[in-house]
Each structure stands twice: as structure tokens, then as C-alpha cells.
Symmetry: C2
Subunit: 154 residues, 2 copies
């Protein structure tokens, strides 16, 4: 079993994707994050869903969550207005979560070793051919474990 056989499609955005569109992609797929790729298709990082909260929750409430109790629900409208003005680039943290990249012919153990060493719940599988890098998909820890576990005896 090689990495390309375990890879499944994963939602991606670029740094230029509007933030409101990125939020849509995220919620449609109900993933904990999006893979950010450059214009050539090379994965750059994972954009965690929690980065969107920076736009949703005012800074003074982030510092003191107890203040949230006294705010009304207007923040939701403001959030959508703020989202429309931003792009993925604005949402990226200063130190983005790195996304390990594996080769399509890497073995399951190689993928597992890279996940363990980099403490990453996700790896990207990238093919490199004459046209440049191409994201084949991603492998989550859960998908990898499912492959390694013996068939359920019921």
C-alpha cells in the first residue's frame, strides 16, 4: 500500500481566495482546516478553522471571554462584513501549522513516521511531474489507522 492509494481529496484554497469563500469551503466539508496551496499547486500550510475566529470574536473578548456574555448577536453581521474584505492571506497565523508532504510511492510506514515526527494529523500527497507539483490528496491519521487495523471481527 502506497501513499497515493490512501490519499483522498481534500479542500484547498490559495492565499488569494476571499475569506468568505474559504469559510464556505470549510463549512461545506466540515473539516478542521483547509490546505493552502500556492499558484503552482504546492501545499504551503494548513489553515485551521480556528483562524476564522479571529475575525468573528473582537480582540477584547478573546482576551476576556467573560465579556462575550454581555454582547448581543450583532457581531455575526459584523463578522460577515469583515470576512468579505479579507483573503486567506489575512487569516494565516504568523507561524502557520506546517503540512508535511509525502511522495505518491511512500509506504504506509513512511507516512506514519512522518506524521509522528512532525506531530501532524494530516499529510499531503504531492506528485511531481513535468508540469510541476500536483496535489493528489491528503491522508489523515484516522484514515491511516483504519488501513492498518485488522478487519473488524463481528
Amino acid at each position: 500500500m502506497q501513499a497515493h492509494e490512501l490519499a483522498t481529496p481534500y479542500p484547498t484554497v490559495t492565499l488569494e481566495t476571499p475569506a468568505d469563500e474559504a469559510a464556505r469551503v470549510l463549512t461545506e466539508h466540515r473539516r478542521p482546516g483547509l490546505i493552502v496551496v500556492d499558484r503552482r499547486g504546492q501545499p504551503l500550510a494548513v489553515l485551521g478553522a480556528s483562524q476564522f475566529l479571529k475575525l468573528l470574536v473582537p480582540g477584547y473578548v478573546q482576551d476576556d471571554p467573560a465579556l462575550a456574555r454581555v454582547l448581543d448577536e450583532k457581531f455575526a453581521d459584523q463578522f460577515c462584513a469583515r470576512l468579505a474584505e479579507k483573503s486567506v492571506k489575512d487569516l494565516m497565523p504568523k507561524e502557520p501549522a506546517p503540512l508535511p508532504v509525502v511522495n505518491p510511492d511512500d509506504t504506509v510506514l513512511e507516512v506514519a513516521a512522518i506524521m509522528a515526527a512532525r506531530r501532524s494529523p494530516l499529510v499531503a500527497v504531492v506528485a511531481r511531474d513535468d508540469d510541476g507539483p500536483r496535489l493528489l490528496g491528503a491522508i489523515s491519521v484516522a484514515a491511516l489507522l483504519e488501513h492498518v487495523l485488522p478487519p473488524q471481527v463481528s
Copy 2:
């Protein structure tokens, strides 16, 4: 909209759950982690899927992932044998990822503020009544964003 309306069921285990059973729960639900609850039902922490990799990947390969290339696939059998001997307690990291807990009547903004302040992609919704704590479910960032975003105009 209150926390209990946003909460959805989330797979849980206890510290005593056998590790192989926990791995099954994780892969069946394809979640990035499991909520670990104590015997009373109070959430203790999140057990990330990557914690299982510690049993799958030998220590010397974790230190040098390049060694994975020279190993054969027998490790998978050994992994299952090791899993069968362990419990969730053995998989917990020294500093487990904390799981913020919110009250059923907390507002969406309160939940968002706690997620942002604690940098957690997940919160547990716990009711407290005469019978003790009761986990109503969990709220992910993606679910919260979906609620806050305006309906898609197509």
C-alpha cells in the same frame, strides 16, 4: 441560539477503554480525536489520533523517519498486538490537549470566545444536574462558523 442547540454527538472513551477499541471508535467516526471522559461523564481531554502513532511507529523511526523506508510491513501486525495490551490511559500524552467545556445555555459568541481564547477547534457542552455532569455533545469550529455565516445565495 445556545450551545446545546449547536452540540452534536461526539465519540467518547474513558481512560480504561482498551486502546484497540478506542482506535476502532476513532476510525469509524473519522474524527481527528476522541473525547476522554471520566467515570462520571465529565470530559477530561481530547485524545488526538496522532497519539496512536506512538504505538505504530517504533521510537527510532520517529526520531529518523528516513529509516521507515528500510522497514518491511510486519510493523502493522506488531502494532495490533501492542494496541491489544494498552488502554487509553497509556496513549495519553503528558500534557493532553485541553478540552474547553461550555454550558448548555451559553451563546454562540461565548462559545466562539472560549474557542478563540483557548485555541481549541472543539468545545464540549456539559449539562450539570442532580445526577452529575452529562456530556450533551461537542461543537466544532466548522459547525459554529456554519451557523454564523449567512445562507448561501446561489
